[in-house]
């Protein structure tokens, strides 16, 4: 009897806090398997750094999924913005630089990349909100456009030899805390405020939950939808800048597949594909859960083919619990 109640209670907790339970469970598992080796600060620090860029993409697409949309263009948009950022940060004496012989102030690559991301967001948003294209199709198209633009802009070459100041943006640290982690914290905070404490954020949930009801509640559905893709675009631009800065280069393989990683992460983080549900904390935990899986398996020396397999299963299990939680029974 006691046992049954205990089981029931823990089942309740598991469905209520799937995201956190998965994360903590994996963390414990990993520390047991490695005798605590994997949980040293230096390792955790590496994990955080590795996942930081992905967090921006995840926050962006997380907001989009809350409005019941999707974005497949993330990977190539981040690739494009990374290339744009890199092109304005090359050493002027590098002979194959895109703008050889010219040097730009540090702010230029940042602004250019964020603007490029924002423009892409507006483009996606316009197609979806006003053009009434299904998000899947609109962003499938813009994914290809972004890829094409990146190849044309870079002439399919590596954009390398970046100046040290630009690299310092992401490679530096404040005391023991790496810059990247500070950026993630700041941006996550901003997105949290947006979603939780502004009208527009509340509208995103409403639109995802019931677009028609949102409309008759006086919400400008089109404008808000456009804005959500715009905000996401800005985040992708930020991700691109930081990625170029961290890697010290950009090429056509940069951020490859990031859309799938980001979508998987927020889904594991409890953002429902049915729209109207999701939190920033969940998205972040989702990102780090996925990171932990990658990192843990590498640490344990699991073959990378098997890593893919395990990752797939974990996504499915996490989403399974989530769907149960929100399933309409009537």
């Amino acid at each position: 009897m006691e046992m049954k109640k205990l089981l029931n209670d823990s089942k309740k907790v598991a469905t209520q806090y799937t995201t956190w339970v998965t994360f903590v469970g994996l963390l414990l598992l990993l520390s047991i398997l490695t005798n605590g080796q994997a949980l040293r600060w230096s390792s955790i620090r590496n994990l955080l750094i590795a996942e930081s860029v992905r967090s921006f993409a995840a926050l962006g697409v997380g907001m989009i999924i809350i409005t019941k949309g999707i974005d497949l263009s993330i990977g190539y948009v981040v690739c494009l913005t990374a290339s744009v950022a890199a092109s304005f940060a090359q050493n002027p004496d590098y002979s194959s630089a895109i703008y050889a012989g010219q040097s730009f102030p540090l702010i230029v690559p940042i602004i250019a990349a964020v603007a490029a991301g924002g423009l892409f967001g507006l483009f996606n948003g316009y197609l979806i909100a006003y053009g009434k294209l299904p998000p899947f199709i609109a962003t499938l198209g813009s994914m290809s456009i972004a890829k094409g633009l990146q190849l044309i802009y870079t002439r399919a070459a590596v954009v390398g030899s970046l100046n040290q100041n630009f690299k310092n943006i992401s490679q530096g640290s404040v005391g023991p805390v790496p810059n990247l982690i500070i950026y993630v914290a700041i941006v996550a905070f901003i997105v949290w405020v947006l979603l939780k404490h502004t009208r527009q954020g509340t509208h995103f949930y409403a639109i995802g939950g019931n677009a028609q009801a949102a409309r008759v509640s006086g919400i400008n559905v089109e404008r808000d939808l456009m804005m959500v893709y715009f905000y996401a675009g800005l985040l992708y631009g930020t991700a691109g800048t930081l990625l170029a800065s961290r890697l010290g280069l950009a090429n056509s393989l940069t951020a490859n597949g990031m859309e799938l990683d980001a979508i998987a992460a927020v889904t594991v983080g409890g953002v429902s594909q049915n729209g109207g549900v999701g939190r920033v904390s969940g998205m972040m935990v989702g990102v780090f859960t996925m990171g932990l899986i990658n990192y843990g398996m590498s640490f344990l020396g699991v073959d990378s083919y098997y890593q893919q397999l395990v990752k797939g299963f974990i996504i499915i299990v996490a989403v399974y619990f989530d769907m149960k939680k929100y399933a309409r029974r009537a």
Partner: protein
Amino acid sequence: MDTTFALEMEGITKTFPGVKALDEVTLRVKPGTVHALMGENGAGKSTLMKCLFGIYQEDKGIIKLNGKEHRFKDSHDALNQGVSMIHQELSNVPERSVAENLYLGREPLNKFGLIDHKKMNVDTSTLLKDLEINVKPQVRIGSLSISMQQTCEIAKAVSYNASVVVMDEPTSSLTDNEVQHLFKIINQLRDQNVAVIYISHKMEEIFAIADEVSVMRDGQMIGTYDVAEMTNEKLISLMVGRDATLRFPEFKSNVGEVLLKVENLSSPNPRSFQDVCFEVHRGEILGIGGLVGAQRTELMEAIFGVRATSTGKIYVDNDEILNMTPRKAIDHGIGMITEDRRGSGIFPLMNISSNTSIASLKEYLNKLHLLKHKEMKEESVRYNKALRTKTPTMETLIQNLSGGNQQKVIISRWLMTLPDILIMDEPTRGIDVGAKYEIYQIMGQLVEQGKAIIMVSSEMPELIGMSHRVMVLCSGKCTGVLDKSECTQENIMRLATKFM
């Protein structure tokens, strides 16, 4: 006992997190009778029926059909055992045709194992003809009016040839004529020895059609009575557990200057409303009457900016408003409680407090333009308290409330926007008698404060009891405006059927 019951439900108990929805409920229904199930919003009627229909699994209790015990693991199982149900909320697939919806889950197959569309359409056509329902099997069900969709749901429930048919508020979106039509169908079922369980908040209907009535209160069964020995007052007091209240409250309002004026408003669709003119004054309740298809909802949606108009003008407080949108309408002090609760009312995965405050966020911003969550929640609580929304907590998701309580949350939402002009499209749909009175009282208070209300209603007593004037539409055209003194059922019906 010599009679076997068509259905016996004994000691049914069902708990949801935070609520005991059913507490040892027993219900026995005889074959060939219409058994009404009554009770306040949230009393547990729908939950009991969902246990019967295999949508919920009861925690405890026995279900017997014709004396034989059954346990339904899902709705499919229930249908196979001869139980069919019309759900309180529309449950069709709007993008598919009428025939496809009727045969959903039991599509006839041809010899290749593919769906036999021809047979499906022919069968549907025959069924609809038998029931005298005038609609083509091939049309997309989502393109039909809500009442026609509901009529199709009724046809669907009948088509299973079940021995127990459950109807959960089947008439909440039907007008009088269609209700009569439904009663004809129910009488046929009764003659075929079917047991019909009939849930409704409309007293007239219970006395018109039911043989027996069972009353529930707070998840418990109060008792089963013969309708012939029942009176209106007795039934209400059984339901609410105290003495019955008046039907309509008294309110004294001064009808003042014109607040909303609509001139020659026409829809781009020639079959919808055309050339409609009317005025609403401060302190006035304008009722809008008419049959289904009279385009009342369409007209209201156009005024609120949800639907396009081709010609005509809308003035609020003497200012003409061009290119109306819901946002503009709200900014000009108009609020609208829409007819289709599920389609354009609730945000199913948001909690009660967010569902209440969603249309008034603008009023709850601090200096930094961030939302004042605490105040917003307090106001939401206040409105829902006033309407006595029955919920475990304010954090409960609205989809877990009973239908009537969802409606109360939507009404709270619009009261919270402090509208000057409130459009209420079927405001008391699915609301129990006690709560109806409370809503009427609130309507009275609003007009006493000099606000204006436009109320679309298919319930004659409500239309006559609450309105200062009633405008009647027929086939999209205004056929007359009746003053309080001329407001009788006959006059309204005469105008509502002018072009028929």
